[in-house]
Subunit: 361 residues, 2 copies
DNA sequence: GAGCGTTCTGAAAACGTTTAGATTCCCTCT
DNA sequence: AGAGGGAATCTAAACGTTTTCAGAACGCTC
């Protein structure tokens, strides 16, 4: 029982075209080609140190036998697997499923395998997932993680990591241009004459929300500098699902804003639903702007005015960043060093309209 | 440089709580617990032949060191991988992202890894994906595959396969109760007085659509037997995305039906959008029923009456079927042998109402 | 024709795990 | 007290690959 255990069952005197029953290993190819397994490995890896004639013979033998390298064995010895993990907070959130789709496409195009894990928007779950994933994946894409900075840095230290919608010193990341998006959205509402606008925020732990709030503040300041008065009413922080939007809607009504900027489309969806329920006409009595442009946004009645974030492209871009031979970033480069910011664009639809005069309810 | 290579850097005199820098292997745990690696392996595998006291010590050591088994190594020796692949037509379709979510949760709960692949509703792409996946996964869940029966059988011959929304002799499968769902939907519309109803079908290659059509025919026959006349107008076959619904809406209007049964919610979404655009009031002038109950269905205005298919549970059930030691099915058992049919339920919302009298347009 | 570099190939060690078979230990039974 | 038998544990082989190092074959220069 030596290493050549599988020999007898693989080859018999029938010749090359005989398809082996069991799994073909590198040893079988080596025997077929009359070389050692080391040479097979090198020939198939395209190493330059193998003679062209030999390489050809090896390749032919491999093809004839239908050899497929065993990924587990390869991974074990190289330490580097051929899969990349994607960790997302919620697969049912259409924004993230789009990200997942883009990511998965690109990964597969690169001949790799996409492993996916949903954390249910839960920190503990995320930690668990990360621990499990860390062992069999050395390349990770983390979409909007809840994890603490230190945990992420530890992770990034031993795996290649790309973040989506979060930035962290020394870790490459892809995000949408949050500040610009919110600026465009606010500009649109101002142009429509709204002066009292609610902001329905995402979770306090959300990096995107922080960015969008900062962008909002900046945009408001800029407006003031131009002599345009506007009041932003902070409606609070909501879970980024449709359910969160319900509460936000009630708040928007009682705060007497004429328009609401929602942290994301999911929230806006809930808002729209609750406003309809309460008999508040959109956009006549209340304008609503979302963020993300999830696929349903344009199908709603009224179709949702929202900031288009190229979710699929974000996923793909994250993969590119991950696979590019980017040298490990040095923390001293600052957070922006490896940040890829994708442009976003306001898509005006039916959910926004000119502000009516102040209303009493 | 022996097998215990990582020893020095892992343990120092600080004690148990010290988190190791490098990767913790079974050797480290063995040293920590004062046993051999074989015992560690057995203890963690839950083998009965290890003394409870020892097992406890090992588990504690493993936890203290944060040990996670190396999957590549395990897979190499056992031959059986610990990932299961999920092939879905479109991640952006909320129904399938729900399936994916349920599947992924269950897979991870079992300590396995979920590999995901999106085929973009494309046969060629699907074939490609399957070939790629087959090399590193021996357990697959195929959601609504387009592939030919023969290809699927070949695949099922060498991997464990569970189908979702399709049935095939000898291959275990999970589906919703399509016929019953459509029966409920039709019954609801009949109860509301509709007598001329459109059916907006899915792709002709879709197994689900075939089932639903069959169920519809049966339900219509049953109604006729009870003396209730109803005319079903086949509006055609549409791509199962919202875009398909637009065309279906125009057809529904020109065919003067008072209600439409849509193959799925995506289609219904498009329908609703287009009807609103054309000024046809839902549900006053036209009732619409969907299928699937995707998360947005209840958030639409009007909220969509639809057949609730437990998508997440389907994903989970498929995993259960896959992991259960189900003996390979024998084709002679017939297609139903390993079919797990999940009950579905009509959820009445605002998109359906009593039929108005016949209208002219 | 000896010495020496080049170019190619092979032997063998590693990767971290599972598992078969050997070994130890401690009872219990005679 | 010695043998026999289980239970618990250990030793070592195996999984299929990559890669280091050493060696073989060859051609060149002097």
């Amino acid at each position: 029982m030596s290493g050549a255990r599988s020999g007898s069952r693989v080859r018999d005197r029938e010749g090359v075209e005989r398809v082996p029953e069991g799994v073909v290993t590198i040893h079988d190819v080596a025997r077929e080609a009359g070389v050692s397994i080391a040479t097979v490995s090198r020939a198939l890896a395209g190493s330059a140190t193998v003679a062209p004639a030999t390489a050809g013979r090896v390749r032919r033998a491999a093809a004839a036998l239908g050899y497929e390298p065993n990924r587990a064995a390869r991974q074990l010895v190289t330490g580097r697997g051929q899969s990349v993990g994607l960790v997302i907070p919620d697969l049912e959130n259409p924004f993230y499923s789009s990200v997942a789709k883009g990511m998965q496409n690109r990964v597969r195009a690169a001949g790799l395998t996409a492993i996916i894990a949903d954390t249910d928007e839960d920190v503990a779950r995320e930690r668990e997932v990360l621990a499990q994933l860390a062992t069999d994946v050395d390349r990770l894409i983390l979409a909007s993680p809840r994890a603490a900075d230190t945990d992420l840095l530890a992770l990034a230290a031993r795996s290649r990591v790309v973040l989506i919608n979060r930035s962290l010193a020394g870790v490459p990341a892809v995000t949408g241009d949050n500040a610009d998006g919110i600026r465009q959205a606010l500009g649109h509402l101002l142009a429509l004459g709204h002066t009292r606008i609610g902001y329905a925020g995402g979770p306090v732990t959300s990096w995107s929300d922080a960015e969008r709030r900062a962008g909002l503040t900046a945009a408001v300041d800029a407006a003031h500098d131009q002599g345009r008065g506007v009041t932003i009413v902070d409606l609070g922080a909501f879970r980024p699902g449709p359910a969160g939007g319900l509460a936000a809607a009630d708040l928007a009504i009682s705060e007497r804003v004429s328009a609401v900027l929602a942290f994301n489309d999911q929230l806006a969806l809930g808002l729209l639903g609750r406003l309809a329920e309460r008999g508040v006409a959109v956009p006549e009595a209340m304008s609503v702007v979302g963020f993300d442009d999830v696929p349903v946004a344009r199908l709603l009645a009224p179709a949702l005015t929202t900031v288009v974030v190229p979710a699929q492209r974000m996923g793909a871009a994250a993969v590119d960043l991950l696979l590019a031979g980017t040298p490990a970033a040095r923390p001293e480069d600052g957070p922006g060093a490896l940040l890829r910011v994708l442009p976003v664009e306001l898509q005006v639809r039916r959910s926004t309209a000119q502000a009516a005069g102040r209303r009493e309810r």
